[in-house]
């Protein structure tokens, strides 16, 4: 089973979200009982799903659940097909043949990990393993399909192929309402979360930040504009470079594009080559291709940045935005997907619609440091109240309670706590 990196207990978050919040979550777990939960995804490391499961599972175990994490395996062809699914579900044009759909099903049939009969809940993450449910027609446990991507412009062929499998689930879980589809089963809205105690988000001293940037070859002599994202066309690093050049005609600054590739992302290397070529010899543009475990490096870069940008054309939720907000940074991001649900425009950051808009708002923040500081404070408070690990745990416990519930009432009173003298 893939190992998790989190060494924290739920109570460790009490100083951040308050003990009252933690107590409520513990009570919610107690009322659910000692459930067995199986998670299935496609990769052990790299990408947001593996990162979330890394802290999600130990905390559920801490709360008395038994949790297993299984991975669907496959050859290069399988992951090439599922990457095409990913792109097509985001609305990008992709070619498919019937053989590819058959090959996908064949791989799932051969390589899907077995689900134990005594599992109470099974959570399948993203399209790679979604067809697994067909192997369990007589199941007695509850299955939820957790979709981590933006389905609002999904290719109809691919969605048409996957939908019959999704319809078999007892519930589907999406980041945002815009990603829901016409399904008969309940569609829960559950944003992802970040771990404030993980190396990517824990506090760093200024000396630590400087030392890490020095090691990365990034001077701290000028204001830094930062984008953290996989090297993927959907993240539009090209637009980020164009916006930076516009800003630089006003303010002396640096652009850092920090990213890497997940093990299930074959086309990242091609995009990296293109943006390296576009940046050329410009000493103020730093393209950092970082390994998947570069959490402290990302942390330091975000803390060193004056402004963080997210110039994505498509974004499932945008946890890199959440991370930057947690570090009290003003974020300028495209008005799409999860970015627009996190940034309160004009209060905790700016939402933009063009490269020129991106440049304009960066200039505005550079020209008004007090506004940038206020935005950062509001941004951090938003994350503290909504998008941290304890809130994610709470929401999943509520999903499990809902899946367990008989009937469709929207107001449920849970059994009383035994009051001991």
């Amino acid at each position: 089973m893939p190992s998790s990196n989190n060494k924290h207990h739920l109570k460790d978050y009490a100083p951040i979200v308050t003990a009252g919040v933690i107590n409520e979550i513990e009570e919610l777990a107690r009322l659910l009982g000692p459930a067995k939960i199986v998670n299935v995804n496609s990769t052990k490391e790299g990408g947001g799903v593996a990162e979330i499961l890394g802290w999600f599972i130990p905390i559920l175990e801490d709360l008395g659940m038994t949790v297993e994490w299984k991975v669907i395996t496959g050859n290069t062809e399988f992951f090439t097909i599922t990457k095409k699914f990913h792109n097509a579900l985001h609305g990008q044009p992709e070619e498919f043949t019937q053989e590819m759909f058959d090959s996908y099903l064949d791989n799932v049939g051969k390589n899907a990990p077995p689900i134990p009969d005594d599992a109470d809940f099974v959570v399948i993450h993203d399209p790679q393993p979604v067809a697994m449910i067909a192997q369990y027609p007589n199941r007695s446990n509850r299955w939820a399909w957790r979709c981590h991507i933006d389905l609002s412009e999904a290719d109809l062929r691919v969605w048409g192929f996957l939908r019959p499998f999704v319809e078999r689930y007892d519930g589907a879980v999406f980041h945002l309402p815009q990603y829901t589809k016409n399904l008969m089963s309940p569609q829960f809205i559950l944003p992802p979360a970040i771990d404030p105690l993980a190396p990517k988000n824990e506090e760093l001293t200024d000396d630590e930040v400087t030392a890490i940037l020095y090691r990365l070859g990034v001077p701290r002599d000028k204001r830094i504009i930062l984008q953290v994202a996989r090297f993927d066309r959907l993240k539009d690093p090209f637009g980020a470079i164009r916006a930076f050049k516009l800003v630089r005609s006003w303010y002396d600054c640096r652009l850092i594009l920090a990213g890497g590739s997940a093990t299930d992302d074959p086309e990242g290397q091609a995009v990296l080559a293109e943006i390296t070529d576009m940046a050329g010899d410009d000493p103020d543009i730093h393209i950092l291709n970082l390994p998947p475990d570069s959490h402290r490096e990302i942390n330091a870069l975000q803390r060193a940045a004056a402004v963080v940008i997210q110039n994505s054309r498509r974004e499932g939720f945008g946890l890199t935005v959440t991370e930057a907000m947690w570090k009290a940074k003003p974020v300028v991001g495209t008005d799409i997907g999860g970015i627009r649900h996190q940034i309160i425009h004009g209060t905790s950051g700016f939402l933009i619609h063009s490269v020129e808009g991106l440049a304009y708002r960066i200039r505005q923040l550079f020209g008004n440091p007090e506004m940038a500081r206020r935005f950062g404070i509001q941004a951090r408070e938003y994350v503290r109240n909504n998008l941290l690990v304890p809130h994610h745990i709470r929401r999943w416990l509520l999903v499990f309670h809902s899946l367990k519930q008989k009937g469709n009432d929207d107001l449920i009173t849970l059994p009383p706590h035994e009051i001991t003298e």
């Binding site: 919610l28 309940p186 905790s348 929207d410």
Partner: protein
Amino acid sequence: MAKPFHFYTEQGIVYYSGYKADNLRSLLTGLRGVPSSSIFYHLYHSLLRRHFTTTDYMNDFAQWVWGVLWQKTLGEKLASFDPLEFTRLRDARARLIEIVDAYVGETEYFLRVSEEQAFYFLCIKSFVYPLGVQVSTLPELMQAIQIISPHSLFYHLIESRLRLREPSNDLSDWLKTELDMPDLAVTINAFSPYEYNLEELRNKIMAAIQDAIK
């Protein structure tokens, strides 16, 4: 001996109702047809979600009408709508429909927005459960108020009026009937969630209790 006050909390998981609106007419259709938990989520629960930050409009309907549809007059009418005046969701819904219907009746052209900007009517499945915290005196109440979560504060100060169909919150009711402290009951009931966020409300309640203890 006063009956103890038991603290509860409400935790909800949000799900999509199946309705969405892309202009005022479809907003009105949604207001008429969605489950009552959707009215609760967008009108009352928004107070909990936004309590810590300053935004122009406190309920989701007002924000969408003003910020996305650019119907500023209707946006202001919806923003000034106080859901705490109502003890029944159906009455709050009826008043909302009345406001939007009157505006729609006077309007000739309706801006239609894209799917990404549409208003998605969300519902909330609410789980109410006791926290195992009970108090019988003011000092005990003070200690409990200090530690309960924003969700529990929200449940007792705002949501309890709907659940119990009473014009005042259940904590004020208890102070009046069990501890015979009507003045403190009125003071706490008067604290407005529009003027203060939940943490500020917590502090104000503690200050009021502290004064009463003296």
